[in-house]
């Protein structure tokens, strides 16, 4: 535990001195974009199955767009490649949102189905199961 305390205080000093937040910002942005891609895929699927309302689906997609724009701003100069990936994801969500607004669940589901590939082509990071009650701990 002393090690945790020591490391924690070193991190405080580093943070105060401005050391190394850049890689953390990029890491957080990457994680957030994966999470939002998975969220949009899941909620659109749930909407197509009539398990959530159209309004909630739109609210969730709006939240995804807003946060992804924030993430994009945070990494634009820091990591252009990641910024490009987030920008592609943000653009790909727009037609999904438009389909939700037009009340076209099948189109929205199809549009959302490729989102995970935009942020992470590795199959291990894709959702393992689209069934509503599937799951378990990730780690």
């Amino acid at each position: 535990m002393r090690r945790v305390v020591l490391l924690s205080w070193i991190a405080v000093v580093c943070a105060v001195a401005g050391c190394g937040p850049a890689s953390k910002t990029a890491h957080d942005a990457r994680e957030a974009s994966r999470s939002w891609a998975a969220t949009v895929t899941t909620v659109t699927e749930q909407w197509a199955q009539s398990r959530v309302s159209q309004r909630f689906t739109r609210t969730m997609l709006d939240a995804a767009s807003t946060d992804l724009h924030r993430q994009l701003d945070s990494v634009r100069t820091l990591d252009p490649e990641l910024a490009g990936s987030i920008a592609r994801l943000t653009r790909a969500i727009e037609p999904v949102l438009a389909a939700v607004e037009r009340n076209e669940p099948a189109v929205a589901r199809e549009g959302a189905s490729g989102l995970m590939r935009l942020v992470d082509p590795a199959p291990s990071e894709e959702p393992r199961d689209a069934a509503p009650d599937a799951g378990g701990p990730r780690r």
Partner: protein, 401 residues
């Protein structure tokens, strides 16, 4: 007697569950599956111990924790924990108002900031015009909707053996900083410093005597345990519905999916109701506690059962606190604010718990009901744990973001 016990248990559940507990548990389940269940259990044991003691102090001595600390240790000692707790409580009220606003945003689709002034006004009116019984029992009773999180895991394919294994401490393979940050946040969301003085103040408001000591013990154990069950339910459902898909809880909206899996189209309504009512209960409790702590500290008139003109300074404290909290939440993201408030809870917990140990061994207050050696050892363990958690909380918050 049974009705009083039931109301006490419901109230204790209300005290346990708030925006912090919901956010920290959902994040924990989404990121680490069932691995942090042991932290909820550990925090619950601590909070059961401490609430039982604060209730016992009130029932035997008719003093609240703040009142007794000021009297026994002097105003100079009392002033520092009071000041830190007030700052902390304003942040917690802001987080709870944010939680209610998000619940209304989920229900209506409007921007959550639009609801903040209305919520602040309703919260203030509830405290201004209501009495202790209405606030405690009325709001807490509505909070029973949170039982959805206990029922939910039985409606989906929950791997109970893996859930049970979560009661045994284990470390993740990666993201250990995040793991410990969440552990600290869970402890902070369970071991909320305001709860001790609020619980004791409630006992004094309801004129508890030594006859209520058995009920105090039952309420502390049963109420907090039910609260813990709800937190574990959130962790389980978040692991099942969010974790496997790689969904983190970057906003409260994502946490809605935890109840969509077991309850389908009712999931959103149940989540919004759970979040809104739990946060309303917590916001009223914490706002009242600020008024209790300041009034008891300065020796002013205090009671939620008095009319505001009879204890004007008491009413002024919660009025100012609610206004400040509403201002904060207009400018800060509610989820981020909630996580910071929970980490700060952990930081100030030792300041509040340590004096309780002194009081619980003072025969002037507790007469023959002072702590035994086992209880003292347990409180020392809790203080040591609180100190460790308090020391690492802020550094972890900075490292874990």
């Amino acid at each position: 007697m049974i009705l009083q016990l039931a109301l006490g248990v419901i109230t204790a559940i209300g005290g346990f569950l708030d925006a912090g507990a919901i956010a920290a548990s959902a994040l924990a389940g989404a990121l680490f599956g069932y691995q942090l269940i042991w932290v909820v259990l550990l925090g619950t044991c601590c909070v059961v111990l401490l609430t039982e003691m604060s209730g016992r102090l009130a029932a035997v001595s008719h003093h609240t924790v703040a009142d007794a600390v000021r009297e026994r240790l002097g105003f100079h000692y009392f002033a520092f924990p009071l000041a830190t707790e007030l700052v902390q409580d304003v942040l917690v009220v802001a987080a709870e108002i944010g939680g209610i606003a998000i619940a209304l945003h989920l229900a209506t689709g409007f921007d959550y900031r639009l609801f903040v002034p209305i919520i602040a006004l309703v919260l203030w009116a509830l405290l201004w015009f209501g009495n202790f019984s209405l606030i405690e029992n009325g709001v807490a009773f509505l909070g029973l909707v949170a039982v959805a999180y206990v029922i939910g895991p039985f409606l989906v394919d929950t791997p109970w053996r893996e859930v049970a294994m979560g009661a045994i401490p284990s470390l993740p393979l990666d993201d250990r900083t995040q793991y410990w940050l969440l552990a600290v946040s869970i402890i902070g969301s369970v071991l909320e410093p305001f709860l001790l003085n609020f619980y004791a103040s409630g006992a004094v408001e309801e004129k508890w005597t030594v006859k209520q000591l058995g009920m105090n013990r039952a309420v502390a154990v049963l109420g907090m345990s039910f609260g813990a069950l709800i937190s574990i339910g959130i962790i389980v459902l978040a692991a099942l519905t969010l974790g496997r898909r790689g969904i983190h809880v970057d906003s409260f909206e994502q946490a809605v999916l935890t109840l969509v899996a077991p309850f389908g189209e009712w999931g959103l309504s149940l989540f919004a109701a759970t979040l809104g009512i739990a946060c309303l209960g917590a916001a009223s409790d914490v706002s009242l506690n600020m008024a209790y702590a300041v009034s008891q500290g300065f020796g002013w008139n205090w009671s939620e059962n008095l009319k505001p003109r009879e204890d004007a300074r008491f009413a002024s404290v919660y009025t100012v606190a609610i206004a400040l909290a509403a201002l904060v939440v207009l400018f800060v993201d509610p989820l981020g604010l909630t996580m910071i408030a929970m980490a700060l809870n952990a930081v100030i917990a030792p300041l509040v718990v340590f004096p309780l140990l002194i009081l619980m061994n003072d025969r002037m207050y507790l007469r023959e009901y002072t702590n035994g050696p086992i209880a003292n050892v347990l409180v020392i363990v809790v203080i040591a744990l609180a100190c460790i958690v308090g020391l690492v909380a802020l550094p972890l918050e900075i490292m874990g973001g």
